[in-house]
Symmetry: D2
Subunit: 385 residues, 4 copies
């Protein structure tokens, strides 16, 4: 009795994030026309929210591809790629010899009237080396079913694919969890057959994979690898989120995403961290933090030399800040968090009245290299009118 | 990288309903070991929460059967039946000639270590008449693929099935939405081939179907007919729920559920209503409402003759009560709601001190026949110690 | 160190009510510039939210008058009157011989820069008869300290006061809780010294007081009589509210409120009920319920004759509706609730296509006389474009 | 009509904190018998939650002392001291020549049947130097009304008081916000007349005051200095809290609190920070973090050498941890937060199987000296049964 669902045309309901000083309200499910997650664009680029690794019943996932589309729409993602395993088909008893482009096609149909980009992808599923890799922006995934793994990578490249190494730290392949380049990976990189690397997969992060990305100039990726339901795995209804690759793209199009990935313009949002190269993370964070108001504090005895600075976090991740400024704070210890969509009023003891000054923070939950955190600067203009 | 999910073994998280006077907190998702929905047992029977109508990718649903199992586990249901269409197979391009017992078998495997009963079922999918019908407790659904609809019903019965008419008010079959018995339905009933009728399907209810159930002594059924995700369709994270058939069974077993259905011992929980025969609804409601405390109200001038009665609603549905007692209330107008898991303190003006008295309410959101609401009685024992 | 509070200038924070189909989110605390509670204006009148009965440390309350002002501002009330007891001064050991206008003056100062009307009032505090009465719109409360109660009432009237009988059903004065006119009350009414009557006080309601109001043409009042904190007593943070007198006034001014009260244009919002004369309740409810959209339901077989009507409840109270229309519903039993700020999509079986029709409901939680509920009509214009 | 409140005897309602992996639910208001805030005891001492600085109508506060008691009860505090200004009496027009012990006595009465300790206190209110100071554990506050400030301090000491310097960084006294010892303070310290110092007052923190506390061996204090309502100022309904002085006391008694304060056994909970000497902070945090489970992670290829460690934060503050262990993490970057009442599962790459190992973290939101954070160690015992 499916048609009866006409009733409930308001299928995606309104959600409103209540922004409150020092308190973040964890909410759920955005309006269809509103992004659930908020990250600012950076100068020159749009910040697109992408997940390039997920499964459906066409390999070992639990859902029809339509569910992947609706999950992404509810979360307000910009692009997804369904990457069913080419060589691992545990449902083959029920779904025999499937066309390896089928999940892509079904998803594409489902997304037709929505502003969600569906990218044809597949997971090349081999033992280590090289382990698993995703090829995305494929033209025909079926042509990747070949014996020799180098042939597969080359066929993907022939189709113009962007290829990245999946979860190099996966304990099924590396029982110590340490991502490590083997001979074959070097060869793939040297042959131009490997463009990126997952430093985040599902609920895991790898410092070593991050170092490999930086050393080998591979694009930094972080994806969900979802098999079940995103809502359940990441508890969206409690404010959770799946890991995402943020692509800094010239515009919202498949071509621009590909160009962004090939140019290494990405960051990863994982849990309460953002991870990426400092050239992208620093503007991302600086544009996430809005100085809403700055004024000299007054008391009944008159004006002080303490400046109040209201800083709003307009992004969907908390930021943990360590004060590196010359000035001591009147309101916080040196380390404090500005929660997602929260505002902190920071008292700055400038010792004398200053119409302008700079605040400098190390952002402790932002990672630009293993155990390395970027510094940001906020320019403050005091307005006492 | 599915194994990494070992990490998050606490896959289903705790949920707690905060019970508050006059306020219900709509919550979400129960702990794996706790029922999300609460309805009391009634004298002689356990109250089992069942959904006997749902779909998977094996007909026109969007999920692998495992998801149906996990949905039911999260909600704490006692039994489900996956009832994929026998004759409507829109995914046949991908899932060719499927075994009609497959979704049952997959679900059965997934539920193996859980206390969830999986019942083999199928939807007999014909134009009107007779429209759609579910046969549950099947032994082999494949044997129901026959040309003649009476042969199908007879085969189901041969297997010991319980058969019910689905959504007789469906506008695709009855554009006026009025459930109505046709010649063929009378014949099926007379031949003992039709045992129940859905008065509730998804977000619809039919007064006329309810009347047919009462007139023909058919078992009253209400099911979700879910194709997508229960979480999304019924907004569980906002306190919503799918419609359920409550079966009053001797114990929690497949046999007892069958016996309960065959004996017509059911009620339907739909939205904020409970619908069923008064012999089951009245004890269900009376056991839902706990008189926690009753005492004579005092003021600074001494004792009054107003009795305070604290009534807690221990069930998952609100109850809208109309006061039919001889006594006027001191705290409420004649109609008021005791919200799910809420407590109302009702002031009763008994005019003189009474150690015992009865409160009588019509329960306006309980339906025992079209536009007819049951009356309940609560015995009050005043305790002023 | 009070001045430091300059920091937190955003003293009253934003609150947003999330409106969801069938689900009401109980929220808390409005933005300073936004009303926490929503009731529509009715034709010809603004609907003003007022509380005319409350206490401070200047009689037996627990707070300085400023708190009463800030409570009202947070809740977005239009007018309050602090009505400290004239004759009951339990804090006199600490606050000796207080000026009976003091709490008014302090509140007036505190409200100075806000759009909240402060009305000078006092509670005439006598044993029964006549019990307690509030005189509001006073010029000088001190002049009401007189021996003879009739002198007090006459002095109040001389000052132009509006006088109402407080909690006639109070068990300290009437142990049976039954509001009843005594000789002295008749006399006060006949002498034009009693204008209104509380049918609701704090958490109590009196059917008998309601009948007296109707019989004697007294203005219907409902107030909090708050002594402690409104937040705590009524659990605002859980979606609760204090009882309020809704005054239907020509504009938002002290004069118009007085004129509205004198003309008997009020209703009471108490718990989840609205109580008042049908001439005000019916337009209040009809303007609370917005028909957002109406369309003919379609199925895969084409158009049906079932009309879907989306009704949004734009007010802060739930409405419990009983269908009195000629049409049976396809979506609900005859009794259902449209929760505050929720939307219900009602399927109406009109049997044939109708471009226009009327829905008629009895509103079971609205009270126009003891145990009597008003009927409302909603005009439906079907739009299938 | 105050007595009618007998109705709502469940004046303080249940609140339940839902503890969820990685997500903290901000809740509100504990059951009367349950502490709203949770901090573990440390070896040898109970951890008592205290606020030693607050005001009522008896100086410049907005509430009767009873409200202070009920606030503390709702929050589950162990002890409070009302410290009305001795020399600043802005309500003297209404509350003339008040007994300086009155607010204490009223609060004591109100707390009579509760397990809340009320300590007699007063704020010595002078210009700088010495500024404001609180004397608590007074016997008769009236005797502190003296001209010479040293006489006042000496009288307080004669009564056995514990005296601390209030908000030395207050901009009304120090426009640059920098806490600084002046000659008179040195003298007071030398004369044994000053025992403690507020490093936190309301929404302010002072690094310099913290340094003074450490240098001069003054007891570290943090208090609310509340004038209005705690609920409003600290948004308890959104999960906020007032600053508190945690006293590590031998038992819950006035004497033990005094002994604990005199021995300098305190810490301050302020916003999302804990501040104090490392000898108390380290056990406090180590006992806040419960290692619930530790096991070797497995994949389909067998056992790995990655250890999963589930760490639950049983306290009411978040902890921001920086990994200082030799081991890299498989699940988190080096800095992450374990939210209040949340659990994080940390993957530790020990490289080989280890039945026991230690995790070492710097706790970035814990402060043991200006810009200095303590290190904690968690012993891990792997259990793979």
């Amino acid at each position: 009795m499916k048609q009866i669902r006409l009733y409930t045309l308001t299928l995606f309901q309104i959600l409103i994030c209540v922004l409150l000083t020092q308190i973040s309200i964890q909410s759920s499910y955005a309006h269809e026309n509103e992004r659930l997650y908020q990250f600012p664009d950076i100068p020159g680029y749009k910040t697109l929210l992408c997940d390039f690794h997920m499964h459906t019943v066409f390999s070992d996932g639990d859902v029809w591809p339509t569910i992947r589309v609706h999950e992404a729409l509810k979360e307000g993602l910009d692009a997804i790629s369904i990457t069913d395993h080419l060589e691992y088909q545990p449902h083959e008893k029920d779904i025999a010899h499937p066309d390896r482009n089928r999940s892509y096609q079904i998803a594409l149909d489902a997304a037709q009237e929505h502003d969600l980009i569906i990218i044809n992808g597949a997971e090349i599923t081999r033992d280590m080396p090289p382990g698993h890799a995703n090829a995305i922006f494929l033209k025909d995934a079926n042509k990747l079913i070949k014996e020799d793994v180098f042939d597969v990578f080359r066929e993907a490249k022939r189709q113009g694919a962007f290829i990245f190494w999946n979860h190099p730290h996966w304990i099924a392949h590396k029982p110590d969890g340490i991502a490590e380049l083997m001979e074959m990976h070097h060869q793939l990189i040297n042959d131009g057959l490997l463009d990126g690397i997952e430093i985040v997969n599902d609920v895991t992060y790898s410092n070593e994979a991050m170092q490999i990305a930086l050393d080998q100039n591979l694009t930094i990726m972080g994806n969900s690898d979802i098999h079940g339901l995103v809502d359940w795995s990441y508890k969206l209804y409690k404010g959770g989120h799946r890991p995402l690759t943020l692509v800094f793209a010239e515009d919202k199009s498949e071509e621009s995403i590909k160009e962004g990935l090939e140019s290494g313009r990405t960051a990863v949002w994982f849990n309460e961290s953002v991870i990426g190269k400092s050239e992208f993370l620093i503007p991302l964070i600086e544009h996430s933090l809005l100085v809403k108001r700055s004024y000299t504090m007054k008391s009944y005895t008159g004006e002080s030399s303490v400046q109040a600075v209201e800083i709003e976090n307009k992004s969907s991740t908390d930021y943990i800040l360590e004060n590196l400024s010359d000035f001591s704070l009147h309101s916080h210890a040196d380390v404090f968090t500005i929660k997602t969509h929260g505002t902190e009023t920071v008292g700055v003891m400038t010792l004398k009245k200053m119409p302008e000054f700079e605040l400098c923070f190390k952002v402790l939950n932002a990672v630009v290299a293993p155990n390395t955190h970027p510094e940001i600067n906020l320019k403050i203009h005091v307005n006492d009118d």
